[in-house]
């Protein structure tokens, strides 16, 4: 009893303490209204509370990572920045490989998440996934990263099964002048960048940049160096022009070259059945994108976009080269005062070459694709109608995308969403959608030696050798009848800003999956010296996931903000064959707790705790449970003069090293080492 009283008293003290300094709403408004124009123009204004008050109007689980968030966390790459979003599962496999997924099923080749960089699709057809090591931009030039959890297929296209990530860089008009950054530390051994933006006439601006880094290796779980150090140089440009009051044009492009090192293992059918090697891979790539937009009126515009993307990605087991040409058209217009219609079409042409690399000891390549080269096409159209049922209160959005691709034929991906704003501090939404993940090149035409079972005693008690079973190669085998995976997703969310300094965003979802990939044991064969056990890809697996994602922002003091996210996920895969390979299962719980402090105008202090529950991976090394972990990043920055900032960032500080994920193949379990780096940036 005594305790309870004490607690309530303390709570009151707590609120009173915070109340004085927290952002005040109505009183401020009255105070402002009592001032004259002259006084209003002299008063100091602040907009710190805005972030905690804004509610997104999208009927979807959307989370926006701002340029400021990226800067304040001290992250040096896109996957690490994505750790800010709830519902995403980000795990670093080693220095140059990540596993990134939304709402579960994580893996190096997690295949249910679509990634777009300024409208350019970064999802690779070869293994259905994203080569995160090849996706980079000048971090300082990112305007925002929009993370949409749940299906986004109706608007964005296939493979947006569990989410879409839109990385959006700034218009070049916002990056005029120069920026130089540089720094280094133990894991980030050295990095630097230079960007310069100019005005080319009244209505045209452009920027160019070059950046590079050298990242250190981590340690193997078994001890010793992981050999995963890498370096990269990338450059690019962006030009934006307002051709006249109705037309705008954007042209942009990037090129990169990376040297990516790997200490990889390979199964082989002859003794010793597994070899290892330090391999140095060269990745090169580039892209060119153009977008023209014509605006007819405030409620009507169209855009035409093309991009060309080429890359050659090399890793221990294969080399993947691909050229993609993509055209998109989109038109938006208002109809009858209560409809906003968006429709469009897209065409994509790809040419690739996928070949297995021979291990250093000259044994046979582990991956084979037949055919090794392919041309593929995709054509799609979509239409979406946002209907205002009650002005400022109730909206219904229905839409669908229809696509035809060379792998799974025709796909229809509809969605229906409803949004209700009973008051401007509350938003409720719900939706149901269907999305598909189309087959990869490997699932259709590949074969991969995933492991070799060495010879065993054939007839105990006779010894082996001489009485041995033959070695058995386990070969994952593509299937030309492999079809798309499907999800039907049910989602609902609530967003509110119930006080002037707090906002809350809660989303719940229930996903039902059909036709998920399953590796079915085929008929073994024997060639006289070794046996082969095929695992044929089929669409036999089904399952469901459900979960809750919570994102809150609390502007506690005008110089101290808290960003707290919590995600809970349950994955249930229908058991249909005992002992067969299963699916990767993402952590059940994730917590991100960030404190953003600006105690003085020229000083930033940031801390970022993350808790990640245990997760489960399946691959060549068998089934593994990766232990849960807690980690902490810290950042301190000081601006001694206006355009110069010095910062120190500590990453993964709570332990010397920790394991986040075990890759499906090639890479031994690698512990991510604690990092510390210093950075200087200068605007001129």
């Amino acid at each position: 009893m005594l305790n309870i009283t004490k607690i309530s008293v303390n709570y009151r003290l707590c609120w009173a303490l915070l109340g004085f300094t927290a952002v005040v709403g109505a009183e401020e408004q009255n105070e402002a209204l009592n001032l004259s124009v002259e006084d209003l123009l002299n008063v100091e204004v602040t907009s710190v509370a805005k972030k905690a008050q804004s509610l997104n109007d999208a009927a979807a689980a959307i989370f926006v990572i701002s340029n400021e968030d990226i800067k304040r966390t001290g992250v040096t790459n896109i996957p690490d920045a994505l750790r800010l979003a709830p519902g995403l599962d980000i795990a670093k496999i080693n220095a140059n490989q990540w596993a990134v997924s939304s709402r579960g099923f994580n893996g190096r080749f997690a295949n249910k998440l679509l990634v777009l960089v300024d409208g350019r699709n970064a999802y690779a057809r070869s293994f259905s996934g994203v080569y995160w090591e090849n996706q980079d931009v000048m971090m300082e030039d990112i305007d925002r990263i929009e993370v949409i959890r749940g299906p986004g297929a109706a608007l964005w296209g296939a493979n947006a099964v569990n989410g879409v990530i839109n990385i959006i860089t700034k218009n070049s008009a916002e990056t005029l002048g120069g920026l130089v950054t540089g720094g280094g530390g133990n894991q980030e051994k050295g990095f630097g960048s230079l960007r310069y933006g100019v005005k080319l006439g009244e209505d045209t601006s452009a920027r160019a940049y070059v950046k590079g880094f050298d990242r250190n290796q981590n340690t193997l779980q078994s001890g010793g160096k992981a050999g995963d150090n890498w370096d990269k140089v990338q450059g690019g440009f962006r030009l934006d022009s307002q051709l006249n009051t109705q037309d705008t044009l954007t042209v942009q492009g990037d090129v990169y070259r990376a040297t990516i090192n790997q200490f990889a293992y390979f199964p082989q059918i002859s003794a010793p059945y597994q070899t290892t090697g330090n391999i140095s891979n060269q990745d090169v790539g580039g892209n060119l994108l153009g977008r023209f937009q014509h605006t007819f009126s405030p409620t009507s515009d169209y855009s035409l976009q093309f991009f060309y993307d080429a890359y050659k990605h090399q890793e221990a087991m294969f080399t993947d080269s691909r050229n993609t040409l993509d055209l998109q058209f989109q038109h938006r217009f208002g109809l009858l005062d209560w409809h906003e219609i968006i429709w469009g079409g897209a065409y994509n042409y790809g040419h690739d070459q996928l070949v297995g690399n021979q291990p250093q000891n000259g044994s046979a390549a582990i991956i084979n694709l037949n055919p090794a080269r392919i041309n593929d096409q995709l054509a799609s159209g979509f239409i979406q109608d946002e209907m205002t049922l009650i002005d400022n209160k109730l909206w219904l959005t229905i839409g669908s995308r229809f696509e035809h691709n060379d792998y799974s034929g025709f796909e229809g991906q509809p969605s229906a969403k409803v949004m209700w704003a009973p008051h401007n501090q509350h938003r409720l939404w719900a939706g149901v959608s269907r999305a598909v993940r189309t087959p990869s090149r490997a699932e259709r035409y590949g074969s991969v030696l995933t492991g070799v079972v060495p010879p065993q005693q054939a007839a105990p008690p006779l010894l082996c050798p001489p009485a041995c079973t033959p070695p058995v190669g386990i070969v994952a085998q593509g299937n030309t009848r492999y079809q798309s995976e499907e999800v039907i997703a049910y989602e609902a969310g609530y967003r509110t800003t119930f006080s002037k300094s707090v906002s809350l965003d809660v989303t719940g979802f229930y996903n039902v999956y059909r036709d998920l990939r399953f590796a079915e044991e085929g008929t073994p064969s024997f060639n006289g010296t070794s046996a082969t056990q095929p695992l044929n890809f089929t669409n036999q697996l089904g399952g469901r996931t459900y979960g809750v994602e919570i994102a809150t922002i609390w502007q506690m003091l005008n110089w101290w903000r808290w960003d707290v996210n919590y995600s809970w996920l349950h994955t249930h895969i229908n058991p249909n064959a005992i002992g067969a390979p299963q699916t990767n299962i993402s952590p059940q719980q994730r917590v991100s707790l960030r404190g953003v402090l600006s105690p003085w105008n020229d000083i930033d202090l940031d801390f970022w705790f993350r808790y990640v529950d245990s997760n489960f991976s399946v691959g060549s090394l068998g089934e593994n449970t990766i232990k849960n972990y807690v980690t902490l990043d810290l950042r301190a920055a000081w601006r001694p003069i206006k355009d110069v900032e010095l910062s120190v960032v500590g990453q993964n500080l709570l332990q010397q090293s920790h394991l986040e994920y075990i890759s499906e193949n090639q890479t031994f379990p690698t512990l991510i080492v604690r990092g510390l780096y210093g950075k200087i940036s200068w605007n001129f």
């Binding site: 305790n3 004490k6 607690i7 303390n10 003290l13 707590c14 303490l17 915070l18 952002v23 709403g25 109505a26 401020e28 408004q29 009255n30 105070e31 402002a32 209204l33 001032l35 004259s36 124009v37 002259e38 209003l40 123009l41 002299n42 008063v43 100091e44 204004v45 602040t46 907009s47 509370a49 805005k50 008050q53 804004s54 509610l55 109007d57 307002q242 009051t245 109705q246 937009q293 605006t295 007819f296 009126s297 405030p298 409620t299 515009d301 208002g334 005062d337 906003e340 205002t388 002005d391 400022n392 401007n424 501090q425 800003t497 003091l557 005008n558 110089w559 402090l597 105690p599 003085w600």
Partner: protein, 180 residues
Amino acid sequence: MHTWINKLPRLLLGLSLLFNTQPPAQALTLEEQAVLAALALNIVRFTTWPEALREMKDSLDFCVVGDNVVQQSFAGIDRKAVGNKTLNMINLSRLSNFDQCDVLFISELKQNILLQVFVEIKKMPLLTIGVGDDFAKQGGMVGLENVNNKMTLHVNVTAVREANLTISSRLLSLAKIINN
């Protein structure tokens, strides 16, 4: 567990004392949104509409294009008196039917859309107020820009004149004038 909760307020107090060494605010600090709404009210009060329009109705219809934060702060000036009329806030969810508005406050519209809004309302007796350094240059009438945490006014007198509106010299004397 209770001990932890008991310690929380003191911990927070301690932390805030530890960090709260900012120089005491010499001047009053207000939220930008509240200042924008108050400035908008003042700008309306310093504006004269054509005579014909003035006699037609009792309200001055103030349309707002913006997110929930903008709508919330402008709700604070709803029903305020302006001369012998009262302000009537209308949250525009669609960029059409501008003829119902006497004032249009625009925040965070994409550039290409904003330019077409100006085309659409050209020569209407409609006072446009917006945020940013470019608003008035691009054809808006009154732009409010945050420069080093203080609001500054930009007035495009050409646009005001073309719409048959008059802005008082007292307000103009506080503003940067744009004449194009």
